[in-house]
Symmetry: C2
Subunit: 305 residues, 2 copies
Amino acid sequence: MTDGAGPKVADSAIARLIERVGTDAPLGVFDSGLGGLTVVRAMRERLPNEDIIYLGDNARVPYGTRSPETIVRYALGCARELSSRGVKAIIVACNTVSAVALDRLRAELDLPVTGVIIPGARAATRASGEAPVGVLGTLGTISSGAYTRAVASFSSRTEVLGQAAPLLVALAEEGWTEGEVPRLVVRKYLDSFFGPEVVEGFGLPRASKVGCVVLGCTHFPLFRELIEREVREIGGRGIPVVDSARETASDVEAFLNERGMRSRRDEAGRLELLVTDKPRSFEAVASRFLGGAVGGVDLVDLKPE
Amino acid sequence: MTDGAGPKVADSAIARLIERVGTDAPLGVFDSGLGGLTVVRAMRERLPNEDIIYLGDNARVPYGTRSPETIVRYALGCARELSSRGVKAIIVACNTVSAVALDRLRAELDLPVTGVIIPGARAATRASGEAPVGVLGTLGTISSGAYTRAVASFSSRTEVLGQAAPLLVALAEEGWTEGEVPRLVVRKYLDSFFGPEVVEGFGLPRASKVGCVVLGCTHFPLFRELIEREVREIGGRGIPVVDSARETASDVEAFLNERGMRSRRDEAGRLELLVTDKPRSFEAVASRFLGGAVGGVDLVDLKPE
């Protein structure tokens, strides 16, 4: 797992880990809230027989406005909670934590740790060719420059055009993902990725300034089809939409396969959902993010760091 | 000033205060971000010759997700900063702080302190008659029950129907206050205040479940005319829309007049804007909230409590 500049976990450490927890141990996923559930959903599609424990630290959401020190402290709390439950790897399904805390998590834990930014940035650099990468994200993610740095680590010539799309977060949390309002909001945010209309009002395709569009926020896979449709509508051709959640799941699969860490079981993996606040209201929204019913949500108290 | 359960500042304390700072001293207003500027705007309309110092603690926005202890600590920091600049009264232009920290601010400061909830709740109770009061607010304000308690303090028989409207906050901060998207969003949130359509699709007025609609978030005055229009459109008659920002300004005016604390000057009052982060980006958005150009924004470091 290669998100951020952290070193890979040495093979001897992996061997000790597997001896301790076994290959059937669950994967641990955490986020500051429920956005990371889109990563869980993608992982369950790719890795249907793996158990997953998801921890949403919704008592302290959002992380984006906190100081880096506080984000590291909160992230360590989440990761240690998952570690104490015997997970075999940790997936940071949160852009803020992926940008700020990955190195510290790797230094402090005897576990493979990955984030959501590098997988998305890698796929985007490939998909974009020579053209700039367009990134939709939260205000925090865009202004942090995390995707710009990540894309630069794959290709120094590839530019990044960032577009903050805060209304999409609010729409996703309200479950308002279809109809005229999300369509107009998506249109507005995509606008900066395209050149002016050739003949105004004639609906001719506009020139694209980007080679692909990255869903750089864990909430945005809920709008993937809508964004794909609107990109086609505006640009008149298929500019690929890169889904960080799917790319992360694909990276996790490759990593587990390479290291012989896949579960050997045949049955469907279990999903355990933990939150730090309001389990009932989390449950209601979670089914939307997971694309299906949720078996219950447990409340957990994190130990103070 | 009567927001919350705190006692009025005694007349002798007012006399000492005025001896110290003078009646021309500025009014101090603070909020966790820029929403409170709608209160400043309303105050400048009502009290054009008063100087105002506004402090937006945008480095730590949003307060709504913090613990009560943290909110009190942050609010004390803001209030002490304003107090050290010689203000004659403090207006808490933030629903979260008004709900949580008003008593503590009054206990710790030798200044009159008011908030935004009681003025809005008082006006709403009057405007609603026997009917329930409808409140639009953030998720935090609605789930805190602050308006329910405040309305109950004026009339034990008046019910409160709360509706969280988080998309309006995001739209306001993006400056997207006109057109189809805000209209449809406002429609969606107003829906719970009205009964079913009489004959579906015929556009007949629907029965109103509320006697008035309170703009229970400092961002929402930006949508006042739109909300008034949609309320009329749906309900077919003028259900009053109560603007907490205006009601607060009106309360401040009455208080200053009663206590002989109005500025004696003839010229237009000055406005000083202070923030704890990103003064340039604050300036750009602030002009929208104030309804006019802004003369510059200064960065300030708050002393740790």
